[in-house]
């Protein structure tokens, strides 16, 4: 028994403080329910990812405003999940347990984030202090970019990946984003030179290899496999595996998460009865380019240390034979806090429905999707398919 996604909605990722959190939220909730083709009163639960750095909105969502404002008379309960970038993964897990426990047929999972009205000093502070240790990291000026720079530098040292190869990851991610009307970089691809000539933020990371904080939102409606069979556009969850590493990067033995990627995908693929070679697309939420490389190494798509070369050869970008991360990751789309993983789930559904337009992977039957939270504390790998097994 598992769950299926039957409705999706998303607003474009932009920076516009005039588009409010509630406007985004209401729009995506209504559109996802309509896309599913159910009635608003059929929604039995609303499970929301915590909107990070937005405490007032988090309170509204945690304390039941969404079904009340939208008049969802059939709603039996609500919940909010906070695990940073894996918040949406936890929402799906809660939805699954409600559905399997007989408490819900249809669960709505909505996300909203507006960061453009938060002063940049406050955002830097939030993203520096939320995941970082306030005794052993923060006093030393560690930032999110700095933390990821430390990992990336070691990754390049151990694998011999060059600055050009690493920059090629961003070129491919931006190429996907350039094809996506929901990306802040829609119609704005970059060249290798653009990436390498952008300012150095934290070595070896250039500005274009870091994340632009933006506003966005999305929603999905999920139900059981059984019920989903009546919904033509349903996309089915076939397996799920997860591994935790550490909260603090310098404590991490599995620094590039290869073991966590491998073990979580092994579990997920075994449940699905599929192998990594059956995957038509790999959606990797890591938010920084090295994860796009080490994930392929962990999944066994290539040998250790060869991930960056695959990207540099253009094999993971548009038109490549190993399409990966077709929504561009945070680097190629804009970082919407806990919303990046929502966008990953939505894009995966579009690919499997055949609705990904210019980004469409041909004959997309099976997809692997991995999310990570905090400073890549975990890898949560899910297999989705166009049909139930």
């Amino acid at each position: 028994m598992s769950i299926a996604v039957i409705g999706i909605a998303e607003v474009p990722t932009i920076r516009d403080p005039d588009r409010t959190r509630w406007d985004i939220l209401l729009d995506v909730c209504m559109e996802a329910v309509r896309d599913a083709g159910i009635d608003k009163d059929d929604v039995h639960a609303v499970i929301s990812p915590n909107p990070m750095a937005q405490p007032a909105m988090a309170n509204d969502m945690a304390l039941g405003k969404v079904p009340e404002v939208l008049g969802m008379k059939g709603c039996r309960d609500i919940a909010i999940a906070n695990a940073g970038g894996t918040s949406n993964t936890n929402c799906l897990r809660i939805a699954k347990s409600l559905i399997e426990g007989g408490q819900a047929d249809f669960v709505l999972i909505p996300h909203t984030t507006v960061q453009s009205d938060i002063p940049s000093e406050d955002l830097i502070n939030f993203f520096a202090t939320a995941p970082l240790d306030k005794q052993w990291e923060y006093p030393y000026g560690v930032t999110f970019n700095g933390s990821m720079g430390l990992i990336t530098n070691r990754y390049m040292h151990e694998t011999g990946a060059t600055a050009e190869q690493m920059a090629a990851v961003t070129v491919s991610l931006r190429a996907w984003g350039a094809l996506d009307p929901n990306s802040i970089f829609y119609g704005k691809p970059v060249t290798l030179e653009d990436v390498l000539n952008s300012r150095i933020v934290s070595t070896p990371l250039h500005a274009k290899e870091c994340n632009l904080l933006a506003d966005g939102g999305g929603a999905m409606v999920v139900t059981s496999h059984e019920i989903a069979k009546n919904f033509e556009k349903a996309v089915y969850q076939l397996g799920h595996g997860t591994r935790f590493m550490s909260a603090t990067p310098f404590m991490r033995k599995d620094l590039f998460h290869r073991k966590a990627y491998r073990e979580s995908s092994t579990d997920a693929l075994a449940q699905a009865g599929l192998s990594i070679n059956d995957m038509d697309v790999r959606q990797i939420y890591g938010a920084y380019p090295y994860t796009q490389c080490s994930a392929l190494e962990g999944y066994g798509v290539c040998d250790e240390g060869q991930g960056a070369a695959l990207w540099a050869e253009g094999r993971c970008g548009p038109g490549g034979d190993l399409p990966c991360t077709t929504m561009g990751d945070a680097t190629g789309r804009g970082h919407t806090g806990s919303g990046v993983s929502m966008a990953f789930y939505l894009e995966t559904v579009r690919q499997l429905r055949g609705e990904a337009d210019d980004r469409q992977v041909p004959n997309c039957e099976h997809a692997l999707l991995t999310t990570s939270g905090g400073s890549v504390m975990n890898t949560c790998t899910t297999i989705f398919g166009r049909s139930p097994r």
Binding site: E121, I124, N125, A128, D133, K134, Q135, W136, E137, Y138, P139, Y140, G141, V142, T143, N145, G146, S147, G149, L150, I151, T152, N153, R154, H157, R199, I200, V201, S202, T203, P204, L205, C210, T248, F250, M251
Partner: protein
Amino acid sequence: MSDYLKPLPEIQPHSKAFWDATKEHKFLIQHCKDCDSNIFYPRRDCPECWSNNLDWIEAGGQGTVYSFSVTYEGVEEKFVADLPIILAWVDLPEGPRINTNIINCEPEDVSIDMPVEVVYVQATDDVVIPYFQPVKR
């Protein structure tokens, strides 16, 4: 000394001995008397065996750079005067890997595997923060 603008470490009851020792220019590592683990960062209980039978050993103050990242921008205002900041993870021969800054070093001179040594900086009257610097030949 009171003009220190950067955030001070949030000292906890079980890390107080570490920060007391840095004032005497000593770098302590927590040690479990039951399972013999060297522990960093300090905790209330041993993360290996959950014993609270913990004491401290004094580190030699040497280390090697495991990784580094030179930060040029994207820090809060209170860190701007320090830019560029050389963030580093340093492996201590006693076992732990720690997070620190490399100071007294130009950004182009830092490298992975470089030997470094601890250096103490008085932040306020009450707090001394350990950093690392290249080993002087």
